[in-house]
């Protein structure tokens, strides 16, 4: 993983999450088996989203367009290049979701769907079992990374609207009723 030195939070995420060059290699290696299956998975994804009454209004009338962007995004997970461009892309996706007012819950739920749906596809279609296990681990790490980057945009908008600093946001998120430990 190429991580921006100016972004200590992202470095922490990658360090603890174990994102490394290994992920790039394995994802690029297995891509050939998985890419042809991604349009089908995308269809299923939008069926699930459309079944949920609270989500439907957000996607109505633009499902075909959304499917196209979604397949491109899914393919990018298997591109084996998770450098600055990949990071910026996820941040842009976060901005777009803020612009169209998609609540964070729906992104989290969608990620949960993908975390559940993708591993069996990998297990069933990657011929080498070791590769399938390694690719699944990498994929789950990447999905978490994407969600973290998208969620960060929501946090930035919240901070901007409240006029608060990142440090104050963290304090407000962690000094709840009954929090016993002294704040660091």
């Amino acid at each position: 993983m190429q991580v921006d030195d100016q972004d200590p939070n992202l470095s922490t995420f990658c360090q603890v999450g174990g994102l490394s060059r290994q992920d790039q290699h394995i994802m690029a290696k297995v891509a050939v088996y998985i890419r042809p299956l991604l349009p089908l998975l995308t269809d299923r994804f939008y069926e699930v989203l459309a079944e949920e009454p609270s989500i439907r209004p957000y996607i109505e009338g633009r499902v075909e367009h959304l499917k196209k962007t979604h397949v491109v995004w899914l393919n990018s997970l298997f591109a084996g290049d998770y450098g600055p461009e990949f990071i910026q892309r996820q941040e842009k996706i976060g901005e777009t979701h803020v612009r169209v007012r998609v609540p964070p819950l729906f992104v989290a739920a969608s990620m949960a769907f993908l975390r559940g749906a993708l591993p069996p596809v990998l297990a069933a279609n990657i011929p080498n079992a070791q590769d399938a296990i390694a690719a699944t681990a990498s994929l789950l790490r990447l999905l978490d990374l994407c969600q973290y980057l998208i969620d960060r945009k929501y946090a930035e908008v919240l901070m901007d609207n409240l006029g608060i600093s990142p440090a104050l946001l963290v304090r407000l998120q962690t000094v709840g009723k009954g929090t016993t430990a002294k704040t660091l």
């Binding site: 409240l162 608060i164 440090a167 104050l168 304090r171 000094v175 009723k177 929090t179 704040t183």
Partner: protein
């Protein structure tokens, strides 16, 4: 030393009027710098809320073209919470009961904030 001086600014403020029950100096990030708050209050939590309130006041004043924020006043059935900037890095918060004369409270808190800001520079 500086902490003692700030503490004495708060103690003076609390002593200036019987209506002022407590006060605290808080960083913009919501950390208590010095406080003279009643024992039962959760300092960490209250400080984060106070810093957020003032920031939100700043933002709202700017959005509504009210100019530079001077203070945020929260009034409940039992009393008032007055929050003002104390220089660029800190916030002064005073809690007063319902008997407080607001004009005097505003002045006392403003002077205390100016004194604290000078010490924090």
């Amino acid at each position: 030393m500086r902490e003692d001086q700030i503490k004495s600014i708060l103690t003076d403020l609390n002593g200036r009027s019987a209506s002022i029950e407590a006060s605290a100096l808080i960083s913009k990030d919501g950390l208590v710098l010095t406080s003279a708050l009643p024992g039962q209050m959760d300092e960490d939590r209250v400080s984060a809320m106070v810093a957020a309130l003032l920031s939100l006041g700043d933002r709202t004043a700017a959005e509504l073209s009210c100019g530079q924020l001077e203070q945020t006043l929260v009034t409940g059935s039992h009393g008032h919470i007055l929050i003002v900037h104390a220089g660029p890095q800190a916030v002064l918060c005073a809690i007063a009961n319902k008997t407080a004369k607001l004009g005097l409270l505003f002045l006392d808190v403003k002077y205390a904030a100016q004194a604290a800001a000078a010490l924090l520079q």
